[in-house]
Amino acid sequence: MVGIETSDDAAIYKVTEDIAMIQTVDFFTPVVDDPYTFGQIAAANALSDVYAMGGEPKVALNIVGFPNCLDPEILGEILKGGADKVKEAGAVLVGGHSVQDDEPKYGLSVSGFVHPDKIFKNYGCRPGDVLILTKQIGSGIINTAVKAEMASALAERESAIVMASLNKKAKEALESYPVNACTDITGFGLLGHCMEMASASDVTMEIYVHDVAYMKEAADYAKMGLVPAGTYKNREHSIELVDAGNVDEYYLDLLYDPQTSGGLLFSLPEKYLSEALADLKEKKLDTEVSVIGRVTEKKEKFICLCP
């Protein structure tokens, strides 16, 4: 039902007039040391693609790569973390497949359902929309600082909580609104995903740089050069199409920081904003919600950064 040309988050198959099936798969290598937390993060990340399409995950399968030389108990912890997240999502884990691998890998294949009229597309933003982001950014930079052993324990914990939290509540809070577009923020960084949405919708997004919620320490680490390689790639990819004004260097690094299991980005007509924010508040998310900008008619560049 949606093509690859607009880089949507998952595949959709219309089963009947009322039911469309969403199918997605995602897995990666460990981003944190603790196996249980890694399992939670990998699962939250895979489930997120279903939420980003407006769907409800129903069935999940494990995908595992694991080396022989590691203690099988570690694998047990990873799987437990994943299973707990699937349960929290209200889906069932029905099995999976594992292969021997040099480096541990974990993720899920997830099937979910959505009413065909209720699908969140990742294009369709209209001038007059506001942009709502449901998780603070900065996990890529914090993960790099953790690797460098320069991250504070608090930063590490905040980042783990942000990555492991499901996008379920955010999706549920906004599903009854006429959402014009939605995507989840992952490897391309906030601006990379904004760019995808803006270009597919043929509009310009004004991003209020200083309103974007981010993990406090991430700004410090960005200044210290603890910036992952992905940030530079993301930046190179689209900076030509961004009017960056005179935004500080480290802010650009933050905005292009690749996120692991990032939040949802909603494009919603402005008149629903205060109601939508109240509903999000009521859901008591574990992450920070921020209104990061608005959509205007297409100008010269797809993205315009405003201080």
Binding site: T144, A145, K147, A148, E149, M150, L154, R157, E158, K216, A222, K223, M224, G225, L226, V227, P228, A229, Y232, E249, Y250, K281
Partner: protein
């Protein structure tokens, strides 16, 4: 001249190596860092600039870059200087004491009395010779930093003298005060715990 060889090292190792070399410097010197990718050049440059270094870089070959960092001061001197400057420009009346206020009344018994007492307490804090570093407000304490509080003037005065006034965001939300905060900033549980953990002394009325 100190040379740091970070050839073949992926991000963030070049930054880590350079930083360690900087920290080990005992006198002003020049650091030469060798790396094999552009990203490392940018990251090391950022780190060196934020540490007060004078940075230039050049491409030596296909996969060979040299970053030259001139440090006119070593890191420990920079830190010492920062401290001195603090003392010079403004006698700092703040210590590492934190005041934690978790209710809009002081003590238990009569609520009216409790409210009078807390107002008196905050006023008394303004009169201390050495002001606290920060005052944290949570739960019912959030009412004291919001519209209608009798202590706003005192708290604004403290804030103007550099005392951090921080109110728990969840609590403001809970009491419907988010739009009504009138002094200081909103904080979260991480900052609250971190602030308490770093405190030399915590005062609770």
């Amino acid at each position: 001249m100190i040379t740091v060889n970070a050839m073949g090292d992926a991000c963030p190792i070049p930054v880590v190596k350079t930083k360690k070399a900087m920290q080990a410097m005992t006198e002003p010197d020049t650091l030469e860092v060798l790396v094999d990718n552009e990203i490392a050049v940018q990251n090391v440059t950022k780190m060196a600039k934020s540490s007060g270094g004078d940075v230039t870089s050049e491409k030596l070959g296909e996969k060979e870059f040299k970053i030259v960092i001139k440090m006119s001061q070593v890191m420990s001197e920079l830190k010492a200087q920062e401290k001195e400057e603090d003392v010079d420009c403004m006698p700092d009346r703040r210590k590492d004491t934190i005041v934690v206020i978790s209710s809009d009344r002081m003590g238990s018994g009569n609520d009216e009395l409790g409210k009078v007492l807390i107002k008196g307490f905050i006023f008394a804090v303004t009169q201390l010779d050495e002001l606290p570093k920060a005052i944290l407000f949570y739960n019912g304490g959030a009412r004291l930093t919001s519209e209608g509080s009798d202590s706003l003037e005192d708290l604004k005065g403290l804030e103007a003298q550099g005392v951090e006034i921080m109110t728990c965001g969840t609590c403001l939300d809970y009491y419907g005060l988010k739009e009504k905060l009138r002094v200081g900033s909103v904080t979260n549980m991480y900052s609250i715990v971190e602030t308490m953990n770093n405190a030399g002394k915590i005062i609770r009325p």
